[in-house]
């Protein structure tokens, strides 16, 4: 089942004195599956934020439909149980952390008795319990983003839409957010988040949606995408393989030596089991055998043969 569904979405802005039509999003169709963590990537200007705003009802599409839980996104009921985290923390300057979260909890319809314990729960998750009485505007950007995450966790949402949640975070903050995502994944919460950090996608996401210039260029599993960039198998063998070099070269393998070990690389179009069998039969033992593939970064932005996105980050 899909939590978020975009069907043939287009968005056109009008610019200049003559109100010239400028297309931002062109016929975009994708969906976010329930109970999965989906990454949303693309270079600057790929209209990720505009797309997220259409999902959250902040911007209305020029054509097509955006549905959340089967309800049109401009209907406020579609956001029941769905939380949002903006790239820039946006709290009222006159409120303390406790007041800001209390305000958000009231808007979510959390009952008065539960608000206090709910605020304590989310502040514990983002490790900000001691900042409860501090005014939000007095906190650093990274801390404000933690509070932003706390408000997104209020009321145990079943789905979360996050626009570059780790923007401006320090390494401990990033680590904390990654662990929060992992926990949410375990709890079966649907998470959809945009990011420029592809390591986060590789580490956390089940699926990835790639946009370029307002158009969809990839929609599928992260592992499937990585698989398209699979290079082959890398076997680290104890000792030297000089005697087997000729046979290995015939198969198409390349060999390098390092720290008294031999690293045998078997290209993906060759049968690595054949190589394994050959080396076993010669009495060789293995330190490790692992699959090697291009990083998501290389796959999306650098490799001209498989490049999904035209612009670099």
């Amino acid at each position: 089942m899909n939590v978020i569904e975009l069907k043939n979405i287009s968005k056109t802005y009008r610019k200049g004195l003559r109100a010239r039509k400028v297309p931002a999003v062109v016929n975009l169709t994708f969906s976010v599956k329930k109970n999965r963590v989906t990454g949303f990537v693309g270079p600057n200007g790929a209209v990720k934020t505009t797309t997220i705003k259409m999902i959250t009802g902040l911007v209305r599409q020029s054509s097509g439909t955006v549905k959340i839980n089967g309800i049109e996104s401009f209907n406020p009921q579609s956001r029941q149980g769905v939380s949002y985290l903006s790239e820039q923390p946006c709290f009222y300057g006159h409120l303390t952390v406790n007041e800001a979260l209390g305000f958000a909890a009231n808007l979510l319809g959390i009952s008065g008795k539960r608000i206090g314990s709910e605020i304590d729960r989310v502040l514990d998750i983002v490790e900000m319990a001691e900042k409860k009485s501090v005014k939000v505007k007095e906190l650093s950007k990274g801390m404000q983003q933690r509070i932003n995450m706390a408000q997104a966790l209020l009321g145990n949402p079943h789905a979360m839409v996050l626009d570059e949640p780790m923007s401006g975070m320090d390494p401990p903050g990033r680590k904390l957010f990654r662990s929060i995502f992992t926990e949410l994944k375990k709890q079966g919460v649907t998470v959809f988040f945009s990011t420029h950090v592809l390591d986060d996608i590789e580490a956390i996401c089940d699926d990835v949606i790639v946009l370029s210039k307002g158009e969809l260029v990839y929609d599928g599993g992260v592992m499937d995408l990585l698989d398209t960039g699979r290079l082959g198998m890398e076997m680290v063998v104890f000792g030297t393989v000089k005697d087997e070099m000729e046979s290995l070269n015939e198969i198409g393998c390349s060999v390098t030596e390092k720290n008294n070990n031999s690293i045998v690389f078997v290209p993906k179009d060759k049968d690595y089991k054949l190589v394994q069998h050959l080396l076993f039969s010669k009495g060789k033992s293995f330190v490790s055998v692992k699959s090697t593939s291009e990083s998501l970064q290389d796959l999306l932005y650098h490799n001209p043969q498989k490049q999904y996105v035209e612009h670099e980050l």
Binding site: T56, L58, F74, P76, C90, Y92, L95, L107, L108
Partner: protein, 254 residues
């Protein structure tokens, strides 16, 4: 309703902590103090001058509050993106507009209550009675200001804070000059001009209806039906403007 009250309460806290409010109250205090001195210089009694000044001060501070806070309200919510934190929750744009309105009107009422308190104490200290008609005048002023606040919110739903402030002042002035538009319509011979002027006469509210200051000052009777009628007129106009604001704001990309 809980959502509207939550937004209203937050807006109230926000505006109460706004320095503009205290500056406006300072101006009001100074005006009331001056009115006490002017009373000795005028041919009218001190109480009459104070009543006139007091009611005029309330009208002016209400307008200032509507212009300085109301006209910039939606614009600042959008520029600081605080609106995202509200509208990305199960909150409709209509609830947001009505919440902001009630929040600002609550501040306005607090402002009126404070000025009225000082004003009534001063009148009582001078040995005069606080007449019912003064209360009527204050109530009608509050309704007039709710019309002005809703107009400020309406203008800020589609334009910049500066333009919204200019439009709100224009709305206030033209609303008070609406009777002149009616006179002008009757004097026009051209049917086209008559139609145009009539259109504006009916489009703009007649804010002079809310002004019973001279009746109060000269102790003229104010029919109770008149107060009720004008009260309902103001409330209906306010609702109309808020519905229009919601319609415009619902179509706005944030």
């Amino acid at each position: 309703m809980k959502t509207v009250l939550t937004i209203a309460s937050n807006t109230f806290k926000e505006t109460v902590r706004n320095k503009v409010l205290y500056n406006i109250l300072l101006v009001a205090g100074a005006a009331l103090f001056l009115s006490m001195s002017f009373g000795d210089l005028s041919v009218f009694s001190r109480t009459q001058v104070m009543t006139d000044f007091g009611l005029a001060t309330m009208s002016l501070t209400g307008l200032l509050l509507a212009v300085f806070i109301g006209a910039g309200m939606l614009g600042s919510e959008i520029s600081t993106k605080t609106v995202y934190g509200i509208l990305t929750k199960p909150v409709s744009r209509e609830q947001f507009i009505f919440g902001k309105f009630f929040g600002l009107v609550s501040t306005l009422l607090l402002n009126f209550a404070l000025i009225s308190l000082v004003f009534f104490i001063a009148i009582t200290l001078m040995g005069a009675d606080v007449k019912i008609s003064i209360m009527d005048a204050v109530v009608l002023l509050a309704v007039e200001m709710s019309v002005i606040v809703s107009a400020a919110i309406f203008f800020s739903s589609f334009t910049t804070p500066t333009l919204a402030a200019i439009f709100t002042i224009g709305f206030y002035i033209s609303g008070h000059l609406n009777d002149l538009v009616d006179i002008g319509t009757k004097q026009q011979e051209s049917v086209i001009w008559q139609t145009v002027l009539k259109f504006f006469y009916f489009l703009l509210p007649n804010l002079e209806h809310f002004n019973i200051r001279s009746r109060v000052v000269y102790d003229l009777p104010v029919p109770p039906d008149f107060v009720t009628g004008v009260f309902c007129y103001g409330v209906l106009y306010t609702i109309l403007l808020l519905l229009l604001s919601s319609m415009v704001f619902s179509r706005k990309d944030l």
